[in-house]
């Protein structure tokens, strides 16, 4: 296969990985919560998009903002009602809580949607440059993923709520002295994490089939991307996502797709040892 094709596949996959990981990274970095629900949030976003498209025929790109907002609401409510009660507890406590919530959400999804793989088919055709092929739905997915990533970056850097989120992350007592209601910012942050997951799921459903069987896979990817790129920053998630996408693509071609995932995890372990802050070790949420 052409080397450009391998790189292109890696970049497309990497942009999607970045989008998957970014909300997970935000929640982990700001709340110090390892959100076990993240994979299910992604699949829920994918299913909602698929079924809304299937029954109404509305174009999925138009559905995406609504799916994302629905997930924001779900995330906000879960944080507000449950996770805020234990948010200052050690990380194992919140991990257990989100694990329990995830089992509930996962089972509900399996009951309501079944685990049948679903995919929005757009039939947009394929671009070709010589020997290199790029299905247009994938190009679209990559573009959407990058746009969302850029949007989150701008929000974090330039908005009032972005500043408040960073302030809470860095020093919650000092943030309280600024008049910031810390628990409310936690709920909004968790909501944004779910929103990004939902949007990523909507994008995924346009490119690959989604099924509840994938929740663990997505959670694992988010985890690896965070460790590779460095926790708690948009550029970190982007770099980590692209790195993982490229590695899996190259490894998939050279040593076989069944080994590609192992290579990703090996890279994560290697980085944990030599550079625990990730490729982009950051101070603030930038």
């Amino acid at each position: 296969m052409d080397v450009f094709q391998i790189l292109l596949n890696g970049i497309v996959l990497g942009a999607l990985y970045a989008c998957i990981a970014i909300g997970f990274s935000l929640v982990w970095g700001v709340l110090n919560v390892i959100n076990m629900l993240h994979g299910s949030f992604i699949i829920l976003g994918g299913y909602l998009t698929y079924f809304a498209w299937h029954y109404t025929g509305i174009y999925p790109i138009i559905l995406l903002p609504f799916v994302a907002l629905a997930l924001f609401a779900l995330g906000y409510v879960l944080q507000h009602l449950f996770i805020n009660k234990v948010v200052t507890a050690p990380v194992l406590t919140t991990l257990t809580l989100t694990f329990g919530l995830d089992m509930i959400l996962y089972n509900l999804m399996t009951v309501f949607f079944t685990a049948t793989p679903r995919r929005v088919t757009l039939d947009l055709g394929t671009l070709s440059f010589g020997d290199v092929y790029l299905p247009i739905d994938r190009l679209l997915g990559m573009a959407l993923a990058l746009v969302l990533t850029a949007l989150l970056y701008l929000v974090m850097r330039g908005s009032r709520i972005g500043r408040a989120i960073v302030a809470v992350r860095m020093d919650r007592q000092a943030a309280a002295l600024m008049g910031i209601r810390v628990n409310q910012v936690y709920s909004i942050t968790f909501g944004i994490g779910a929103l990004m997951a939902g949007a990523a799921g909507a994008i995924f459903a346009m490119v690959f089939p989604v099924t509840t069987n994938l929740t663990g896979v997505f959670l694992g990817k988010a985890f690896v991307v965070c460790v590779i790129g460095g926790l708690g920053s948009v550029p970190g998630a982007l770099v980590g996502g692209l790195a993982l996408g490229l590695i899996e693509s190259v490894a998939g071609y050279t040593i076989g797709p069944q080994n590609a995932i192992t290579v990703g995890f090996l890279l994560m372990l290697f980085l944990l040892v030599v550079r625990p802050t990730g490729l982009i070790g950051v101070k603030g949420y930038e």
């Binding site: 960073v166 020093d171 910031i180 101070k283 603030g284």
Partner: protein
């Protein structure tokens, strides 16, 4: 007659089962600079934390501008008009000087007035203008203290409480900051200063309260207390 803007009476507070404040009573008059002094662990920081709502008092009252604020949330206290510059500056890492200042104005919606106050702060401490886009926590201690005070002013408070103005700073810088406080006070802002360095505190403040193990042991005009042999011996090393 001087009118009190802050009146504290019978205040008790602490951390969990550890009681730190046993019986605090003090008042700050509108327009003055008052100070609270005391040795390490006397409870000065705990007092300020209780005023700004970070700690719930066990008993007693805190009346600000005629309203009871004991037990109110930090954002409610700030809205009423008390800004708290915490011990050790506590600027936000990873954010610029400008962003730190803007966080001081987090609850305000009057954008143009916020701009004016930003200009006021940058004129008061011109070095911050040069450092506007630098990570605030990479500045020197003195510059960080300026930024922390500026951040407090950005909420346009009626009372500014400052914990340990001089902590870890060279005497020349402390003098510079003291002058700035007097200038800020000249705009009509009431200031309550907490200090371990009694000399500095008595230089800028007109009235003082001495705290010992969670109780106010002495209080009065700084000009009088500064001559008191007990104060001179215990806190000024004379």
């Amino acid at each position: 007659m001087a009118k009190p803007i802050l009146e504290i009476d019978g205040l008790q507070a602490g951390y969990g089962d550890v009681q730190v404040l046993w019986d605090i009573g003090l008042s700050v008059n509108e327009g003055e600079i008052a100070c609270v002094v005391g040795s390490n662990g006397a409870g000065k920081t705990t007092l300020l934390r209780t005023i700004s709502g970070l700690i719930e008092p066990k008993a007693g009252s805190i009346v600000f501008d005629g309203e009871e604020i004991a037990g109110a949330r930090p954002d409610e206290v700030l809205t009423r008009g008390i800004a708290h510059v915490p011990e050790g500056r506590r600027l936000f890492k990873g954010l610029t000087v400008e962003d730190n200042l803007l966080l001081g104005a987090y609850l305000r919606r009057d954008k143009s007035a916020v701009r004016d106050d930003m200009d006021f702060v940058l004129d008061l401490f011109p070095i911050l203008k040069e450092r506007r886009l630098q990570d605030a926590t990479t500045m020197s201690g003195g510059e960080q203290q300026m930024c922390a005070i500026g951040r407090g002013i950005m909420s346009r408070p009626r009372l500014l409480v400052i914990d340990e103005l001089s902590l870890g700073l060279a005497p020349r810088l402390v003098e510079r900051l003291s002058e700035a406080l007097i200038e800020i006070n000249g705009t009509g802002l009431t200031i309550l200063l907490v200090e371990q360095d009694v000399m500095t505190a008595f230089d800028v403040a007109s009235r003082a309260f001495v705290i010992e193990t969670g109780r106010v042991s002495m209080s009065g005009e700084t000009s009088v207390l500064g001559e008191d042999p007990r104060v001179r011996e215990a806190y000024m090393g004379i």
